[in-house]
């Protein structure tokens, strides 16, 4: 157990965390502004990954693939918002859960219909592959480092968008009082579609970026979606700052727990049983973290309302 390994794992956790943030930001924005719980967010992640894999396969360009992922997910998001989601605002949470669960079924099986059941592969471009040497002599995959940087840039961009621009001001106003800003002449339904498409685009981007390290397959979105839920519950639903801090916390807990909990148990148990107990506990660590946060603060770290 060396310092180098620790730093490498912290970076891995950070990378996982920022990707979770891309998912969680959209979810929390959609909940904060429209009061909608969107289970189909993972499907948009999948749509982004599939669009990227298809375009990369046809053109060979990773950048074009990312653009396609953003566009396809945003488009799918806008379409879904206009056709279905729009009818769910202000309805009971149960209806929202069911309708978006139905959307998952349609998206997943629809994708299986079009692309088949076999996973697709999205390659890391040459200019981002291979390791990079960080200060201190740590070798780290360049692509993962790029993911961390992209994630942080998106987080900064989102902060700028919500805190400093006119549209961000309208979004924040929409969170507080939708009737009032509609009365002030803001086209609220266009704003909602825009927010939904923005959240979808972020999910699609995350799908494409992560798709290059894992395989692109039907159902890839749901595990990430559930972790993103954990993130926004920890951070406080509706808070982008909370989503960021929650995502980093969850990313680090999950990655470090998987590595270090088995080691920790080896200190006082025999090796086989320690690995068993440690990995079982590590797989639940994130949820235990969530439980602890909720006992301490039932509305999350930065949440104002239930």
């Amino acid at each position: 157990m060396t310092l180098l390994l620790l730093i490498e794992q912290v970076l891995n956790g950070l990378q996982f965390g920022v990707m979770l943030f891309l998912m969680a930001a959209g979810l929390t924005l959609i909940f904060g502004v429209m009061g909608l719980i969107n289970l189909a967010h993972g499907s948009l992640y999948m749509v982004g990954a599939f669009a990227a894999a298809a375009v990369a396969g046809a053109t060979g360009s990773f950048l074009l693939a990312l653009v396609a992922a953003l566009a396809a997910a945003a488009l799918a998001g806008a379409l879904v918002e206009i056709v279905v989601i729009r009818r769910l605002y202000g309805k009971a949470h149960l209806d929202q859960v069911l309708a978006t669960f139905a959307l998952i079924l349609i998206f997943s099986e629809g994708t299986r219909w079009v692309f088949g059941s076999f996973p697709l592969f999205l390659d890391i471009p040459d200019y981002l592959s291979g390791p990079v040497t960080l200060p201190g002599g740590i070798e780290y995959p360049l692509y993962r480092l790029a993911l961390i940087i992209v994630g942080l840039l998106v987080a900064a961009g989102l902060w700028w968008l919500t805190a400093r621009t006119r549209i961000g001001m309208q979004i924040r106003a929409g969170e507080n009082d939708r009737e009032m800003i509609a009365a002030l002449g803001v086209n609220i339904s266009a704003l909602y579609t825009l927010v939904f498409a923005l959240g979808a685009a972020l999910a699609g981007l995350a799908g494409a970026l992560v798709g290059a390290i894992q395989s692109v397959q039907v159902g890839m979105g749901e595990p990430v979606l559930i972790l993103a839920f954990v993130v926004i519950v920890i951070g406080g639903i509706g808070s982008i700052k909370g989503a960021f801090i929650g995502a980093i916390l969850v990313g680090l807990t999950d990655t470090l727990g998987g590595i270090f909990l088995p080691e920790l148990f080896k200190l006082f148990m025999e090796s086989g049983a320690a690995t068993q107990t440690g990995s079982a506990l590590a797989s639940m660590a994130v949820y235990i973290l969530m439980g602890l946060v909720l006992i301490w603060r039932p509305t999350g770290l930065f949440g104002a309302r239930a």
């Binding site: 719980i37 069911l98 099986e109």
Partner: protein, 327 residues
Amino acid sequence: MIAERWINCAVIAGILAVLVYALVADEPFTITLLTRVVILALAAVGLNIALGIGGLVSLGHAAFFGLGGYAMGVLASHAQTFTPLDLGFFTLPGTKSMPIIWLVAVVVSALAAWVIGLLSLRTTGVYFIMITLAFGQMFFYFSISWSAYGGEDGLSIFVRNSFPALNTLVPVQFFGLCFVLLCFALLLFHRLKASPFGLALNAARQVPERVETVGLNPMRLKLVAFVISGAITGLAGALFADLNRFVSPTMFSWQLSGELIILIIIGGVGRLMGPVVGACLFVALEHWLGGLTDFWHVWLGVILLMIVLFARGGLIGLLTGKEGAHV
């Protein structure tokens, strides 16, 4: 419009009619399908207590279903390998006896529901949905990494467990057991809904403040409902595992939690026979659409969307012309 009472009788009569047909035509597979309907309905009746009367949208009921399943799997696998079950302080022999397995399944899932409920009920609304979902996932990942009982591959039980004086290997006898349990659960639901407890719970769903003002503790009401609900779903899990003679982490999957809610919604939220109607329709769709196309989930999704957007009271609501309870 038809009175709900008649619909309820028709549903039970319909199930028994299909059973008689399957017996006469000698189609054991149809009986197995019917048993599947009854077990899924039982799980959903459990959820209906929390969801329909208490308004608790739990997206983690698969946790109890899976716990029931694993209670059966663990006990029966120890009996089948003749190894004692080591609980740390003492050891227990495994068992293949259904009543004991049922008891363990009910107790284990009730305990889990009590703990999960204590933590989750501190929150409301979306938080509650997401927390129950997360607890369900916690069990899911635990069962995957728990290699002593099969891990990701699950656990096969070679012979169905036994019940005194019955031969459970005969499909219709096992169906009968499940059906009797479903009837008991339905009776319990009916009595519960009309009891002072049920009325208070119903009120706690609608206006918790008023319930508190008259001196009742809404949190405690909801917790009791959640525990009863989890216990019934756990019992259904043990039966489901016995039906398939197989337990695996998919019993903990969140899709299953979603499907349990779907069963209730298709039939009608908070209605006595809602889960039963939903389970009949769900298994029928699964069977017929699944035979027509591999992609039947698309159509299930479309049907579900239509029900949510246009038929709030579910199928029973459509027939009786009355909307169901608002959750």
